[in-house]
C-alpha cells in the first residue's frame, strides 16, 4: 500500500511539473523546479533561465496547473462521498442538481448581464456557487419533507427532478437570449484558461478544508456503504452525518465549477479507479481520490491546451474523451478477467 501511495504522489508531482513545463513555450522541467525553488524558498536562480520563463511559470502556468489539480481533487472527493453515502456507483453532485443550479446562476450573469456591486469580477463564481449549493440545500430540504428518514432513492429522485426542471429554465434562457450563447456553452464545458492566481487562492483553501472535514467522517462513510440500518445499529447518526457529508461534497463541487465551469466525469471515474487500486476503505479513498483526481485533471488540462494549440479545447470534453475509455478498460477489464478466472 505504501508503495502504491508513493507512486501516486510522485505521479502527481511529475504531472504538475510537466503541466508547468509543457505549453506554447517549452520550459525544461529542471528550470521549472529551479524557478519554483527560487520563488518559494529564495534559492538562487541560474542566469541562463530567462526572466520571461520565470514570469510564464509563476504568473500563468503554476496557477493554472494548481487550479486544475485543486478542481480535480475537489470533484473526485465529492464524487467519492456521493457514491458512498447514496450507495450508488453512478451518483455525483451533478445527479443532485449542483451543476444545473450553478449553470442557472451562470446564465443570469452571462445572459442577463447581472453583476455584483464592488466585486463585478467575482459575480460569476459567487452566483455559480450560491445557485449550485442552493439547489442541493433545496433538494435536501424537500427530500427531508417527503421522507423523514431521507432514504437515498428519495434524495436521488428529488435531485433528478430538480436538475431537469432547472436545466429546462437554463435552456429557455438559451432560446431567449442568443447573445452570450457561446460564452455560456464554453463555461458549461469548463476551462482553466487565463484565470490568474485569484481562483486558486480561493479554491485551494476551500478544497483543503472540505477534504479535511470529509476525512473526519471516514469511519461513518465505511459503515454507511453497508446500508443505513446497519450503520444506525453500529451507532452512526445517519441523518446528520448524511446531511453534513452531502452538503460538504456539494460545496466542493459548487466552489469548483463556480471558478472553472462544469467539468464532468472525473468525479465519477477517479473514485472507482482509487477503489480498484487502494481498496474501498475511506481512509485511502478520500485522500487518494484527491491525488488521482488532481493528477488526472492536470493531465487533461495539459492535453486540452496542447493537442490543438493554440486553440484551447474545453477541458470537460477532454476529461470524458480520455477518461471514458480508460475507465472502461480499468473497470470492465478487471471484471472480464475475474469472470474468466
Amino acid at each position: 500500500m505504501r508503495i502504491k501511495i508513493t507512486v501516486a504522489v510522485c505521479a502527481a508531482f511529475i504531472a504538475i511539473v510537466l503541466g508547468i513545463a509543457i505549453g506554447s513555450v517549452y520550459i525544461p522541467p529542471t528550470d521549472v523546479l529551479r524557478i519554483l525553488a527560487h520563488n518559494i524558498f529564495g534559492a538562487e536562480l541560474p542566469e541562463r533561465v530567462a526572466p520571461a520563463h520565470t514570469a510564464i511559470v509563476w504568473s500563468s502556468r503554476l496557477p493554472r496547473v494548481l487550479l486544475a489539480f485543486c478542481a480535480g481533487a475537489a470533484l473526485s472527493v465529492s464524487g467519492a462521498v456521493m457514491q458512498s453515502v447514496l450507495r450508488n456507483p453512478l451518483a455525483s453532485s451533478y445527479t443532485l442538481g449542483v451543476s444545473s443550479g450553478a449553470s442557472l446562476g451562470a446564465s443570469f450573469v452571462i445572459f442577463l448581464g447581472f453583476s455584483l456591486p464592488l466585486i463585478p469580477m467575482m459575480t460569476l463564481p459567487i452566483l455559480g456557487f450560491t445557485f449550485g449549493l442552493g439547489t442541493i440545500l433545496l433538494v435536501m430540504g424537500i427530500s427531508s419533507r417527503l421522507d423523514t428518514r431521507m432514504e437515498n432513492h428519495t434524495i436521488i429522485l428529488t435531485g433528478m427532478v430538480f436538475s431537469l426542471f432547472i436545466n429546462a429554465i437554463t435552456t429557455l434562457m438559451f432560446t431567449f437570449f442568443r447573445e452570450g450563447t457561446q460564452r455560456m456553452i464554453l463555461w458549461q464545458m469548463g476551462s482553466f484558461n487565463a484565470r490568474g492566481w485569484t481562483p486558486v487562492t480561493i479554491l485551494a483553501p476551500a478544497a483543503v478544508i472540505g477534504v479535511l472535514i470529509i476525512s473526519r467522517f471516514k469511519w461513518e462513510l465505511d459503515v454507511m456503504t453497508f446500508g443505513e440500518e446497519q450503520a444506525h445499529t453500529a451507532g452512526v447518526k445517519i441523518k446528520s452525518v448524511k446531511l453534513m457529508l452531502l452538503i460538504s461534497a456539494a460545496a466542493l463541487t459548487g466552489s469548483t465549477i463556480a471558478f472553472v465551469g462544469v467539468v464532468g466525469f472525473v468525479d465519477l471515474f477517479a473514485p472507482h479507479i482509487v477503489r480498484k487500486l487502494f481498496g474501498a476503505a475511506h481512509r485511502y479513498v478520500i485522500p487518494m481520490s484527491a491525488v488521482i483526481g488532481g493528477t488526472f485533471m492536470v493531465a487533461a488540462d495539459l492535453a486540452a491546451r496542447t493537442v490543438t494549440a493554440p486553440v484551447d479545447l474545453p477541458v470537460g470534453a477532454v476529461t470524458a474523451i480520455i477518461g471514458a475509455p480508460f475507465f472502461a478498460y480499468i473497470y470492465f477489464g478487471g471484471r472480464k478477467k475475474s469472470a474468466g478466472a
Binding site: A234, G235, V236
Partner: protein
C-alpha cells in the same frame, strides 16, 4: 437486561406492533416467531431505535430515548441478512467497522491497539483469521455471513438482535451460526433476541419464545411451557406440528 413496557411502533403513523411488554434477562435466548407481517422485524428495529415508538424501552434500567446512538450500539448489535455489497473491503476492514462505537473521538480517529486485538479475536472466533486480507466480494455466502457475525461481535454488545441472518445460507452454515450464538449467549451479561423463519433452527437456538400475531403478543415464555400444536395452528393457520412430524418421517425414511 432489556425491558419493553407497552411498546407500540410502526411506519407512517400506523402501529405494526402494539403494547408489547417483555423482559429479557441475561443468558436468555428469546425467539420471536409468527406469520409474515406480524411485526417481528418491526419489534427488532424498535429495540435498535431504528423506529420511533411509544411506551418504554430500557437497557440495564436506562431509557434508550436518553441514550446516544453510539451508547446503544455498545449494548445492542444487529445481525441481518447478508447486505448488498457495493464496494470492495477487506475482511479485516469490514470487521473493524464493528469497532465504530468504541473508536475514540480523537483528531485522527485511529483504532487503538485494543480495537485491533479485539478484531483479530473476533476473526479467530469465526475461523476467518487466515482470510483477513481477502476481499469480501471474493468470499462465499457462508464466509460472508461469518464476516458479518465477526463485525457484530466486534461491536462487543451485550445483546445481539438476529433478523433472519440465516437466509441464503446453506444448512451447515445455518447450523454453525446458531450453535455459535447459543454458546455466545451463555457468557456473562449476554442475550440474544432473534427472528428466524426456520422453526427447526429456531428451536435449536432458543429456550424462550414469543409468538406474535397481528402485532400483539399471542404467547411468551419458556418454549416447553408455551408452545402447543393448537397455538401454532392458530398463529400460522396450518397444522404446523403435523407438517413437521410428516417431514420427520421423510427424513427418517431416507436410506443411510
Amino acid at each position: 437486561m432489556l425491558a419493553l413496557k407497552n411498546v407500540s411502533a410502526g411506519y407512517g403513523g400506523a402501529d405494526v406492533i402494539k403494547n408489547i411488554t417483555v423482559d429479557i434477562n441475561k443468558n436468555e435466548n428469546l425467539l420471536i416467531i409468527g406469520p409474515n407481517g406480524c411485526g417481528k422485524t418491526t419489534l427488532l428495529k424498535t429495540v435498535a431505535k431504528l423506529l420511533a415508538f411509544s411506551g418504554e424501552i430500557e437497557i440495564n434500567g436506562k431509557d434508550i430515548r436518553k441514550m446516544k446512538q453510539k451508547e446503544i450500539a455498545r449494548k445492542v448489535a444487529m445481525l441481518s441478512q447478508t447486505a448488498g455489497i457495493y464496494f470492495t473491503y477487506s475482511v479485516y476492514d469490514t470487521v473493524m467497522m464493528g469497532r465504530y462505537p468504541h473508536i475514540s473521538e480523537s483528531l485522527l480517529k485511529l483504532p487503538s491497539d485494543r480495537d485491533k486485538e479485539f478484531v483479530l479475536r473476533c476473526l479467530e472466533a469465526v475461523d476467518l483469521i487466515n482470510e483477513k486480507d481477502k476481499e469480501i466480494t471474493k468470499l462465499s455466502g457462508g464466509q460472508l455471513q461469518r464476516v458479518f457475525l465477526a463485525r457484530t461481535l466486534a461491536q462487543d454488545p451485550e445483546i445481539i438482535l438476529l433478523d433472519e441472518p440465516t437466509n441464503h445460507l446453506d444448512l451447515k452454515y445455518q447450523f454453525e451460526l446458531v450453535e455459535y450464538l447459543k454458546k455466545w449467549s451463555m457468557q456473562e451479561n449476554r442475550a440474544v433476541v432473534g427472528v428466524l423463519h426456520d422453526l427447526n433452527l429456531a428451536m435449536r437456538l432458543s429456550d424462550n419464545i414469543m409468538i406474535l400475531k397481528d402485532g400483539g403478543i399471542q404467547a411468551c415464555g419458556r418454549t416447553s411451557d408455551v408452545l402447543t400444536a393448537g397455538l401454532l395452528e392458530d398463529v400460522y393457520e396450518m397444522d404446523v406440528a403435523r407438517y413437521m412430524a410428516d417431514s420427520l418421517k421423510i427424513w427418517e425414511g431416507l436410506r443411510k
